[in-house]
Symmetry: C2
Subunit: 205 residues, 2 copies
């Protein structure tokens, strides 16, 4: 089945299932039913079974899912059975926090290169990785064959950073700046927006 | 209609609609059809109409939505027609980045107090706001009547921070640490997880 045939919300939920399964493996659990997984995530078991059915048969009626197996299958489907190097643009407070973020480990990603245009930051090391001059970005991204980037620059610099990334061959961009950015067809972009997540909670207050 | 009757994905989409409407107001647009809004967001117009119908009638057949009016209604529904003070726990790189984040403005939130347990950080000012000793958190949160918090501490300190926040009266927590946290019933928690967003894109690569 081609990527285009699977609705986007299904893919979004797969990433949530994978996160939960990794946690369950850490906890030592081996088998889980769609009901139990659904209860943990606040998603119906029917939805889980339907989402997974786009990609094949992963559980047996009455016995549930073998957690490690399902985890490996989801990693394969989401293409994180490999490690993607990330080009990080912006070496300010946020860039530092991202480089030190422990959540990338074993989940398919690592910071491969850091760029900034500030001469004060260029040449400094963050966790052993030297901050490179932004002007080197096209060359380095191409040479390293990077496809994934994170934008951690101020809002007024973000579109320019994205344009450079796209021109350099980046195909997937995670944007932390509070601004809507334009990318051409064929390039994925997602935004980390803490405010929508907060609004999602205040509704219930 | 009570909060419990509206499915969670509807509320999540309302926050996306609100963000888009605020952008459209900034752009100077006054009216939008559900089709045009849907095209911008990659959501079907039928879904948008259905989501909004939980809360009343906001558009007229054939003329579309009056953008400012719908924006105000969504703000009211999501309870961001007011300003929520946020208790921020953690004054490291990430805490700094959050305090300097420009995206809270006019969207219902502001950083009201910053806490850290590190004596090196206590007493310093970030954007004019003094970093307070974490031991003061229960007292300050209660006195200020704060209900919303952001956790920006390392994973191994996050559950303890959350427990203190909950005991102090916080009802909604946005967690940046890469760990699953437990909260009692009646407390909302959401996680900023850049990895699920990245995995959401690698699927398409």
């Amino acid at each position: 089945m081609s990527s285009r045939d699977v609705p986007a919300p299904v893919i979004r939920r797969l990433t949530i299932y994978l996160r939960a399964l990794m946690f369950l493996v850490d906890e030592g659990q081996e088998i889980i039913s769609s009901e139990e997984l659904g209860n943990k995530l606040g998603i119906s078991s029917a939805q889980i079974r339907k989402d997974l059915s786009y990609f094949g048969e992963f559980g047996k009626q009455g016995t549930g899912y073998e957690i490690r197996h399902l985890r490996e299958q989801l990693k394969r489907i989401l293409k994180v059975d490999r490690e993607w190097g990330i080009a990080l643009v912006g070496a300010g407070d946020l860039g530092h926090a991202i480089v030190h973020y422990e959540g990338f480990k074993n989940r398919g990603f690592y910071i491969a290169a850091i760029f900034d245009k500030d001469p004060q930051k260029i040449g400094r090391k963050i966790r052993g990785l030297e901050v490179l001059d932004s002007r080197l970005l096209p060359k380095v991204v191409k040479e390293m064959g990077l496809k994934v980037a994170i934008v951690a620059v101020p809002a007024n610099e973000a579109q320019k950073a994205v344009d450079t990334l796209v021109a350099s061959g980046i195909k997937a961009i995670l944007n932390y700046a509070p601004i809507t950015l334009n990318v051409p067809a064929g390039v994925q972009i997602r935004c980390i927006d803490p405010v929508t997540r907060l609004q999602n909670m205040t509704y219930y207050l």
